[in-house]
C-alpha cells in the first residue's frame, strides 16, 4: 500500500513538473508583448523597456524559466504584472470564491444526480427514467449562458426574486469568509449561479449512476440479497448503490477540477469574481505570473484529486488489492 502511494506520488509530481513547463512555454508563445497590456505600445519604447526590466522580462528566456521553477518550489509565485499584487494572494481569494460557487453547484448536481440515477435504474423504463434522462440531456445540451440568462431574465429582472449578480451587495464587503457565509445577501446571490452550474452538470452523474446501478442490479449477489428476503430499500442503497458509486466518485473528482476552471461563462454572467474570470483576464492581459498560477492551480487540483481518487478506490472497493506494481 505504501509503495503504491509513493509511486503514485512520484508520478503526480512528474506530471506537475511537465504541466508547469508546458505552461511556461505556452504563455510565452502567445502573440504580443507582455508589456502591451500594462503599458500602451504607443508610448515611448523606453517606457516598455522600463516595464520589462522591472518584471525581469528582459532576461534570457532560459533564465526566466529557472527563476520560474525556483519560485514554484519555494511557493513564491511572484507578483502580477498588472496589479503588482502577490500571485498567491490573488489566486487564493479567487479560488475560494469559485470553490464556494462550485461546491454548492456540485453538491446540488451530485445529490440530485445520484439520487435520480438510483431511482431511474430501480424503476427502469418508467416515467421517472424517461423524464429524468430527457431533462438531464436538455440541461446538458443547453450552454450555461442560456440557462443562466433565462434564470436571470425570469427570476431576477422580471420577478425581482433574486439580485442580478455579485457575491454581496455593493459596498458591503465582509471582512472574513465566515462573515460572508452568514450574510443572507450572499445566499440570495448564490442561488441562480448554483442552479445554472447544477443543471449543466446534472446529466453526467445521473446517467453514470443509472448505468452503474443497472450493471450492479444484474449481479448474482443482488439476486441473492433479494432471495434472502432483504427489504428493497436495503438492497437498493446498501448493496447496489454503494458498489455503483465507484464510477461517480471518479467522475466527481474530474468534475471538481474542471468546474473550478471551467465556469468562465457563469462567473461572467453573474459577475462572480472567481478563478475562471481570473484565468481569462490574466491570459488576455499577458499577466504571466497570474495566468501561470491559475492554470497551475487547476492542474494541481485535477492531478491531486486523481491521486486521492486512486487511494479512495481501495477504500470503496475491498476487492481491489494492492501489489507492488500497482492495482490488481
Amino acid at each position: 500500500m505504501f509503495d503504491y502511494i509513493l509511486r503514485r506520488l512520484v508520478y503526480t509530481l512528474i506530471t506537475l513538473f511537465a504541466v508547469a513547463s508546458i505552461l511556461f512555454v505556452l504563455f510565452r508563445m502567445l502573440p504580443g508583448e507582455a508589456t502591451m497590456q500594462v503599458i500602451s505600445p504607443a508610448m515611448d519604447p523606453a517606457v516598455q523597456e522600463r516595464m520589462k526590466a522591472a518584471f525581469g522580462l528582459d532576461l534570457p528566456i532560459w533564465q526566466q524559466y529557472f527563476i520560474y521553477l525556483q519560485n514554484l518550489v519555494t511557493l513564491e509565485w511572484g507578483r502580477s504584472f498588472v496589479s503588482a499584487q502577490e500571485v498567491t494572494s490573488v489566486i487564493a481569494y479567487r479560488f475560494w470564491n469559485t470553490l464556494l460557487l462550485m461546491l454548492t453547484g456540485l453538491c446540488l448536481t451530485l445529490t440530485v444526480g445520484i439520487g435520480c440515477g438510483i431511482w431511474m435504474a430501480w424503476r427502469r423504463n418508467g416515467p421517472l427514467d424517461v423524464g429524468g434522462t430527457i431533462v438531464g440531456l436538455i440541461f446538458q445540451a443547453a450552454p450555461p449562458f442560456i440557462t443562466g440568462l433565462l434564470l436571470l431574465m425570469v427570476l431576477s429582472y422580471r420577478l425581482g426574486l433574486f439580485p442580478t449578480g455579485g457575491m454581496y451587495p455593493p459596498g458591503q464587503r465582509p471582512d472574513s469568509l465566515l462573515e460572508l457565509l452568514i450574510m443572507p445577501a450572499f445566499w440570495e446571490r448564490i442561488v441562480l449561479p448554483t442552479i445554472t452550474v447544477g443543471a449543466y452538470y446534472l446529466a453526467t452523474p445521473m446517467l453514470v449512476m443509472r448505468d452503474s446501478m443497472l450493471e450492479v442490479l444484474g449481479s448474482d449477489y443482488i439476486e441473492l440479497a433479494k432471495a434472502k428476503g432483504l427489504k428493497p430499500r436495503i438492497v437498493m442503497f446498501r448493496h447496489a448503490a454503494r458498489n455503483a458509486l465507484l464510477g461517480v466518485v471518479t467522475l466527481a473528482s474530474i468534475m471538481v477540477g474542471f468546474a473550478v476552471g471551467g465556469q468562465v461563462v457563469v462567473e461572467s454572467l453573474f459577475s462572480w469574481p472567481g478563478m475562471g474570470q481570473l484565468m481569462v483576464e490574466s491570459a488576455a492581459a499577458h499577466d504571466y505570473p497570474v495566468a501561470q498560477g491559475t492554470f497551475l492551480m487547476l492542474a494541481i487540483l485535477v492531478i491531486g484529486l486523481n491521486f486521492l481518487t486512486d487511494i479512495l478506490y481501495c477504500y470503496l472497493d475491498p476487492r481491489i488489492k494492492v501489489s507492488n506494481t500497482g492495482l490488481t
Partner: protein
C-alpha cells in the same frame, strides 16, 4: 505629402529600385491597385468597429478597390500596428481622455515624423515644423494658430480619416442621483460628478458601474485612463481638467510661467493627507523627484524636461525646465498625483520589492476628496467622502462595481442596483435604458474619435490624392445613424469640435460620395478596366 512631391519621390524610387530591387510605385504604373486589409478589433471588444469596417470595405469595392476586413483580437491588432508595424489600414477609437484636450496627442504625437503614436510612417515637413513650434509656444493664442494650421495640413493630406466623433454614452438613475456634472470626453463618469452628485436615499454612496476591472492602485506605475479615473479620487493633483476642458486650479492655486522655461507653483494652504499629515511643497518636490528617479512610465517624457525643482517659500516651488514645453500643463500638472513623502520615501525598500512598479499599494493614502476603504480585485472599489477636503464631495462615497458585460451593467441600472456608468455604455443599450422611467441614457460631448488610419508606406496609401478619395467613400451617414444609433457626429478634423478652443471649425467631414471619389481618382490618372478594377495612373 503633396501629390507633386509624391510623384517626384516615386520617380526617384524607381531609379533606386532599378538598382536595389526595392518595390516602387513607379513599377506599379498602370497596374491594378493591390488588394489590402482593413484591421479592426473584434465585436467582443467593441461591437461598433467590425460594423464600421464592413461598411468601409464594401464602400471601397464600389470604386473598384478590393479591401478585406480582418476583425481580430484587440491586443493582437494593437501589437501588429504598434509593435510590428505590419498592417495596411486599421480602425481605432481614440478615446476622449482628459489629457487629450491638449492638442499634443492628435497633432504631434500622431502626425509628427517622430511622434510616439506615428507608427504609420506619415512624414510631412510642414506638420513636423508646426508641431515642433506649438510644443514650445507658451502663449495659448499663438499656439492655437499653429495647431489650426497643423489640422488643416493633416486634413488636406488625408493623413488620418476621423470617421465619427462618438459621444460618451452613459446612463444614470435620475430618480437616485442628483447634480451630475458631465465633462467633455468623460460624460457623467467625471470627477466633477463624483464630488457634486448626491443620492436621494439609501446610504448616500453612488454605485458606479464599469465593465473593465480596476487593475492597479499604484499612482507611480499608472498609465491607463481607467486607473487614473479612480486614483484621482484618492490623490490630489496640482490642476484638474474642468468640465468644459479648461484647466482648473486644484492643489495648486496658481501655476505661473515666469518665462518660457521657469514655472512657479503656489500650493493651496491647509491641505492634509488622509492620515492627518499636512501636504507641503516638500511633498510636491518629492513627488517630482520620486517619479523621475523611478522613471514613472506615464511621466518619463515630461520629466525629461525638468532641470530642477526648488522650494522657494512656505507654499511655493519653482520648476526650471530644460526647454519650453507647452503641453506640460495638462499632460503633467493635471495628471501627476501628489505623494505623501513620509510614506513613499521608504518604498520600495520597506515593502520588500526591488522596484516601485512592483508595489501594489493596497492601502493608498492620498489627500484627495475621497478616502480609500477597500479594493476587491475584479469586483469593486469603495471610497468614502473626505469631508475635510477643500472640494468635499456631497455624497457619502463612491462604490465602483465591475460588471461582466455591458448588458449586465445595463440590467443592474434597470434593477436599481447601479446608479450610473463610469465609461462607455453600448449605444443600443443607452437608447433602451432611456425609455425607462427614472433612467437617463444619453450621449455626452467628447473630443475622442473613431479613426480610419492608413499605413503611409504601403501601396496606394502613399498617395494623398488616393487617401482623400478613400476618405470620400467612408459611409459616415450610415455609420452615424445606424452603427452609432445617432450618438456621434461625422468626423472631419483630427481635433473634434467638442474641443472648442483647439478645433479648426473650417474643416468639415468629406461628404460620402462614390461618384466624387471616382472623379478625384480619375483626375489623378487612375483608371478602371473592363471589370471595373481600379488601376494606378499609367
Amino acid at each position: 505629402m503633396k501629390r507633386r512631391e509624391f510623384l517626384k519621390r516615386t520617380g526617384a524610387l524607381a531609379g533606386v529600385a532599378a538598382v536595389s530591387g526595392l518595390p516602387s510605385l513607379a513599377h506599379a504604373a498602370g497596374k491594378p491597385v493591390e488588394s489590402m486589409t482593413l484591421l479592426t478589433a473584434n465585436a467582443g471588444f467593441d461591437p461598433v468597429r467590425p460594423e464600421m469596417g464592413r461598411l468601409i470595405t464594401q464602400a471601397c469595392k464600389k470604386i473598384g478597390w478590393d479591401v478585406k476586413l480582418a476583425a481580430e483580437d484587440y491586443n493582437m491588432g494593437i501589437g501588429k500596428v504598434f509593435n510590428e508595424k505590419d498592417f495596411d489600414m486599421f480602425i481605432v477609437r481614440w478615446t476622449g481622455r482628459a489629457n487629450r484636450i491638449d492638442p499634443e496627442t492628435f497633432t504631434a504625437m500622431m502626425h509628427h515624423r517622430d511622434g510616439n503614436y506615428n507608427k504609420w510612417g506619415y512624414n510631412n515637413s510642414r506638420v513636423n515644423e508646426l508641431s515642433d513650434a506649438q510644443q514650445v509656444e507658451m502663449d495659448p493664442q499663438k499656439r492655437r494658430d499653429l495647431v489650426l494650421q497643423i489640422q488643416e495640413t493633416i486634413y488636406n493630406d488625408a493623413a488620418s480619416s476621423p470617421i465619427v466623433y462618438p459621444s460618451m454614452t452613459n446612463a444614470y438613475r435620475e430618480d437616485r442621483l442628483k447634480g451630475v456634472v458631465p465633462q467633455v470626453g468623460e460624460g457623467i463618469g467625471s470627477l466633477w460628478t463624483d464630488i457634486a452628485a448626491t443620492t436621494t436615499g439609501g446610504d448616500g454612496y453612488i454605485r458606479t458601474g464599469q465593465t473593465s476591472p480596476l487593475k492597479n492602485l499604484n499612482p507611480v506605475s499608472v498609465t491607463d485612463s481607467n486607473e487614473f479615473k479612480e486614483l484621482r479620487m484618492i490623490y490630489d493633483r496640482l490642476l484638474q481638467v474642468g468640465p468644459d476642458g479648461s484647466i482648473e486650479p486644484w492643489a495648486a492655486t496658481a501655476i505661473k510661467a515666469v518665462d518660457s522655461t521657469t514655472v512657479d507653483i503656489t500650493l493651496r494652504e491647509g491641505m492634509t493627507f488622509h492620515d492627518g499629515k499636512p501636504v507641503t511643497p516638500a511633498d510636491v518636490k518629492f513627488t517630482f523627484d520620486y517619479h523621475k528617479q523611478w522613471k514613472a512610465p506615464f511621466f518619463i517624457s515630461s520629466l525629461e524636461k525638468f532641470e530642477s525643482v526648488t522650494i522657494t517659500g512656505k507654499n511655493t516651488l519653482r520648476i526650471k525646465l530644460t526647454a519650453p514645453h507647452a503641453p506640460l500643463m495638462i499632460n503633467f500638472f493635471a495628471q501627476i498625483f501628489i505623494l505623501p513623502q513620509h510614506i513613499w520615501k521608504d518604498i520600495p525598500e520597506k515593502v520588500n520589492v526591488d522596484d516601485v512598479l512592483k508595489f501594489a499599494n493596497e492601502n493608498p493614502i492620498g489627500s484627495g476628496p475621497f478616502k480609500f476603504d477597500y479594493w476587491d480585485r475584479g469586483k469593486e472599489l469603495k471610497v468614502s467622502a473626505n469631508k475635510s477636503h477643500f472640494r468635499a464631495p456631497k455624497c457619502a462615497g463612491i462604490i465602483r462595481v465591475t460588471y461582466g458585460s455591458h448588458d449586465a451593467m445595463a440590467a443592474a441600472i434597470e434593477a436599481g442596483e447601479c446608479d450610473r456608468t463610469r465609461y462607455i455604455l453600448k449605444p443600443a443599450l443607452v437608447e433602451d435604458l432611456n425609455k425607462i422611467n427614472g433612467i437617463v441614457g444619453k450621449g455626452y460631448s467628447s473630443h475622442g474619435w473613431y479613426g480610419f488610419m492608413f499605413n503611409h508606406l504601403r501601396g496606394p496609401l502613399q498617395d494623398p490624392i488616393f487617401r482623400a478619395a478613400i476618405d470620400h467613400v467612408v459611409p459616415r451617414d450610415v455609420i452615424q445613424a445606424v452603427v452609432m444609433s445617432g450618438f456621434a457626429d461625422k468626423g472631419g478634423s483630427v481635433i473634434a469640435p467638442a474641443n472648442e478652443f483647439w478645433h479648426n471649425a473650417s474643416l468639415k467631414a468629406r461628404p460620402s460620395s462614390t461618384k466624387k471619389a471616382r472623379e478625384i481618382l480619375a483626375a489623378a490618372g487612375y483608371s478602371w478596366d473592363s471589370s471595373d478594377r481600379l488601376h494606378y495612373p499609367a
